[in-house]
């Protein structure tokens, strides 16, 4: 039981850690808008050139982040998922000999997914949060930061509690072993309550005005990445319209 739980927690942690906090230097809100525009166009296009542009853009972004090997891994993963799910959902296309439509669907879905992943990787958690602030969604921005912070703490706490329980299980008694794990939930709730209380006190202790704490003002600075992503978005809009 504990090993399954531990594996689950580890995999959640891996997902969390696969995206850095600090992404590459860019103006997050502009980059997010440009990349979401590109992803949206790619998702619904029937123009092969748009799909190719998205593949090339995601390749460049992932190479800037982690190199070609990572790109191959991301592409292979998204392709596997897209092919698997499309086989179930798009069987009628295959039955009706519309292989061309099916291939285009797979290509555009995997291109859009790869580009979305590459964009989030480029922004990083903190960039993603700032992007939401920048586009006027502060609650979503704060949620991203708190989610990443709290989830990580929750995982750490859960692992610690599981180890503590395992340490005191001196012999295997089957079902009774497992019955100790639901108590973990109660423990986490109580810990979460007190941690939340202390964090709110700590925020209050450093809040010196009657205004609630505010988002740091971000300077608008156009970087090469912003220019790149904006020109990709404009190119795709033009390709789609012509």
């Amino acid at each position: 039981m504990s090993s399954i739980t531990k594996k689950f927690l580890d995999s959640v942690n891996d997902v969390l850690n696969s995206i850095d906090f600090k992404g590459l230097e860019c103006t997050p809100s502009l980059f997010l808008i440009a990349s979401l525009t590109t992803v949206s166009i790619t998702s619904f296009t029937s123009n092969v050139l748009v799909v190719v542009t998205s593949y090339i853009s995601s390749l460049i972004l992932i190479i800037l982040n982690e190199g070609v090997r990572r790109y191959v891994k991301v592409l292979a993963t998204t392709l596997t998922y897209v092919v698997f799910f499309s086989l179930v959902a798009l069987t009628p296309l295959l039955i009706n000999n519309r292989l061309g439509d099916y291939v285009l669907y797979v290509l555009r879905a995997s291109a859009a997914a790869t580009l979305l992943l590459a964009s989030i990787k480029t922004l990083g958690w903190s960039g993603l949060s700032n992007a939401f602030y920048g586009v006027g969604l502060p609650a979503l921005g704060r949620f991203v930061v708190m989610y990443v912070r709290m989830l990580s703490t929750l995982i750490k706490d859960s692992s610690k509690l599981i180890f503590c329980r395992d340490m005191r299980m001196l012999r295997n008694v089957g079902l009774r072993d497992m019955l100790t794990y639901p108590s973990l939930v109660g423990n986490l709730l109580v810990r979460g309550y007190y941690r939340g209380w202390r964090t709110s006190l700590a925020i209050t202790a450093r809040t010196m005005s009657t205004n609630s704490y505010s988002n740091p003002p971000k300077e608008f600075k156009l970087t090469k990445l912003d220019l790149f992503m904006t020109s990709v978005a404009i190119t795709e809009v033009v390709l789609q319209l012509t």
Binding site: K22, R195, L201, R206, T207, M208, T210
Partner: protein
Amino acid sequence: MEVLTLRDVWFKYPGSGEYVLKGINLRLCRSELSVIRGPNGSGKSTLLLIAAGLLTPEKGDVLLYGKPLASQLPQARSKIGMTFQDPEDQFFNATVYDEVAFALRQLRVSEDVVRAKVVEIAEVLNIKHLLSRPPYKLSGGEKVRVALASILVYNPEILLLDEPTAYLTTDAKSELMKLLKDLRDSGRTVVIVTNDSEIMKYHIDRSYTLNNGMLYEDKSRSN
């Protein structure tokens, strides 16, 4: 000069029948380093929360420069800096930089000034290399230093530190104590709440023991 005064402070948590603090009297003066010791659960952390104006006593007064602290909040918070027993509790920002910059941003100073001050304090506390990292992924000692930086950055007059040496090695401990001594010499009031008996070997001005909700000054250890 008396900076912070607790006069006959009584406190109990809601739903609890027993008082955690019973008639506490404490006078904190400028340029003084005080240590409050006591067994676990004796109310040391609660005492600091009350002194920082984060909890309201049931009876008694908390005075900052002779005036009720509650009436001077929240502006008075710029004069008081507090770190928590588990430094991770006070972290909620995405990066160490944002964590340290948080208080300064409340004071509405320009981002250039914020950056300069954050880098300056990061250099003093040797955390400059951690600025872009998420605070909860640091080691215990690093977390303590980040928590300290997050309050020292706005230069408070009173420092209330809850177990600041808990995760530190002996070397790091003596470095921290040297820093606190320098702050005391520059006119700050420093209060350390701890269980760490090793701290008593450093030069401290006043020593108190909190036991059973009551505070006693240890005259033999006070200078």
